[in-house]
Subunit: 144 residues, 6 copies
């Protein structure tokens, strides 16, 4: 684990995405109509993601535990693709990129789990960092 005792606290923000691709327009409708048998897909997956972000250091050995001071989950639908965006903020010595990627990934996996009974062809694509601020270098995904 990287030694961060000499670093200083700064505001760190990271946004990551995951793309959930369903195989049928009816799946999108079922989400909108809140008719998925397991319940409200967006609200429940947001809850799973908010909890998942906080468990990142429990899953990744080298990840420092840090104070999550904000997590936001957003959904954007484009045809058969649902883009999940997870934004995290902290004021700490190290960044929150991997926490944002983990949050996006848990939201996407929970959508997969809830949609599985009505759509066998759901896939998860493009888990990647979209943007980060603070730390040694800012970053903006070029294709964003």
């Amino acid at each position: 684990m990287v030694d961060i005792t000499d670093k200083i606290n700064t505001l760190r923000i990271a946004t990551a995405q995951a793309v959930v691709k369903v195989s049928n327009e009816k799946t999108i409708e079922a989400i909108h109509n809140n008719s998925v048998p397991k319940g409200d897909v967006f609200a429940m997956s947001k809850a799973a993601g908010l909890l998942g972000v906080k468990k990142t250091p429990d899953l990744l050995p080298d990840c420092h535990p840090l104070p999550i001071e904000y997590t936001g989950i957003e959904y954007n639908i484009n045809g058969l693709e649902i883009q999940v965006r997870c934004t995290i903020k902290t004021i700490y010595k190290t960044g929150v990129e991997v926490e944002a990627m983990h949050g996006a990934s848990v939201v996407a996996l929970n959508m997969y789990d809830m949609l599985k009974p009505i759509d066998k062809g759901v896939e998860i694509h493009y888990i990647k960092l979209l943007e980060k601020k603070g730390g040694k270098s800012d970053f903006k995904d070029k294709y964003r």
Copy 2:
């Protein structure tokens, strides 16, 4: 949560993949030479994945806790892409697809976390089910 009290135990097997795409051939070399500063990427990510599989029901609200009777993690390198394959077996009333997808995703996220200091362009692609056996219907990804 789906009521499974009336179901019977059968052998269930699921294999899921995640693809970790690095941005530079040198990253692949560093993994091979075991020269990544955070340590042995494949062995440590396998450890994270084996633990992550068992935490799936802690992260996904509707996921039934079940006896994980086998987890295997495999890596295949193809150019700049590393395919992670996670295979899970259980003898239980419900399948292990989402556990396999979660395992693949945790391995991939840990690779991202360990490689981040030497490669800023790592992305995670194509988390999907490759194959499942047992339960109501078998499944084989058509493009596999």
Copy 3:
């Protein structure tokens, strides 16, 4: 921890309740209108409760880990009181009463947490077992 190696598997069902009492009719309206700033109170608290049920043996030392085969969360509103009912099923050697009580309690605590910014007077009452079936003796709360 009680030794259950000699017991046999039977279907066990338990239903527990918690009552969340808000201090103002406007709080009930905000839940109905989905205008609580932290999000959809019923869906997110259900997600928290489904996860919480599975964590019961992580919190209570003498509680046996067991296969949760069904969890259901229901809400009933009566004036300023919201009754949360959590029903759990398993086929195992020991019952799920305390799991049901823990589930009801986590749902109620999450409602408290989400409602706190708009209502400072929320209280949680009457966490108790309503009914259980299976095991040495059935039980039905007399005032139910």
Copy 4:
């Protein structure tokens, strides 16, 4: 999750209660005489509560992880009612009310779990905040 990056650290103290109501004077005696088969009810439930407090952000999606700098558990017996009081302190940007309520609730649930074999009528009542200091507004429960 509320964004707290702009808030400042202050000392926060919260005390919450849960009331465990047993159905028989003999249950109280068994606790006093340390003759409950599962063990020392007050010491073991205190241990469960101390651990439970630290797991609050693992259970409640919107709850910020924060440095628990003190947790105290106290018991007061009044007839058939045992009042559990959980006091928490932190120096942080947000309060510890829900952590205190969760701590009181886990202690009460563990008492229920340990007492169940000798008393089928245990109930948990009145989980509520008694007092908080620090933050935007102090609070004192009027009936305390």
Copy 5:
């Protein structure tokens, strides 16, 4: 992780020990008199151990999750040494040796943590399997 899908359920019992060695007779007296400032050392460490046993598969990657059907914690004092014995039973396809060793180790670590303020010289010795029954071969530590 070893594939156990072909194995059959049998009763498995394992007993492991840890030895906690304190540096001063007064420490033993403080435990006996229940005058250790952090509380009742034996009862609270038993609670920690009962919970710790259930977390073994969360900590050890290759360890199968399994139904813990009995955990017992015993203490024997011999001069400055306290022997902690942890016995576990399951009816499952694989043994509980490492769970018993983990349980003994968590009890010992918690004793260390509670005794640290009054004794700076506490050490933990001889975490080892004393006995196991069931599975391919029984085992009895020769020096027991």
Copy 6:
């Protein structure tokens, strides 16, 4: 739990050890040759230890959650004994001794778990603090 609200942040460092004693020279060779069936013993046990350190406050009731800012795991082989050393750093109000001891103990337990199929006589010895800096008093084990 000790009240630390009045304490100030200082750099704290602690190193603890565990000694894993195998029963046969061939076990040491299998580790060196990376021919242990469960995988790379040192890398996977390091991953387990890095995660285990972060779970210390989940296992020990009185242990304060704190920001782990560095964890290092080292192995030294001497005949049939493998010394595991776990060093932890934090800048916080309380020390990391018990976290270091827990880390060393999890690494040792995982080695036991991975080696069990090839060596039935593995034992864990001498889990103790080697050195600590910061806080009220420094400490150096006299026999180190």
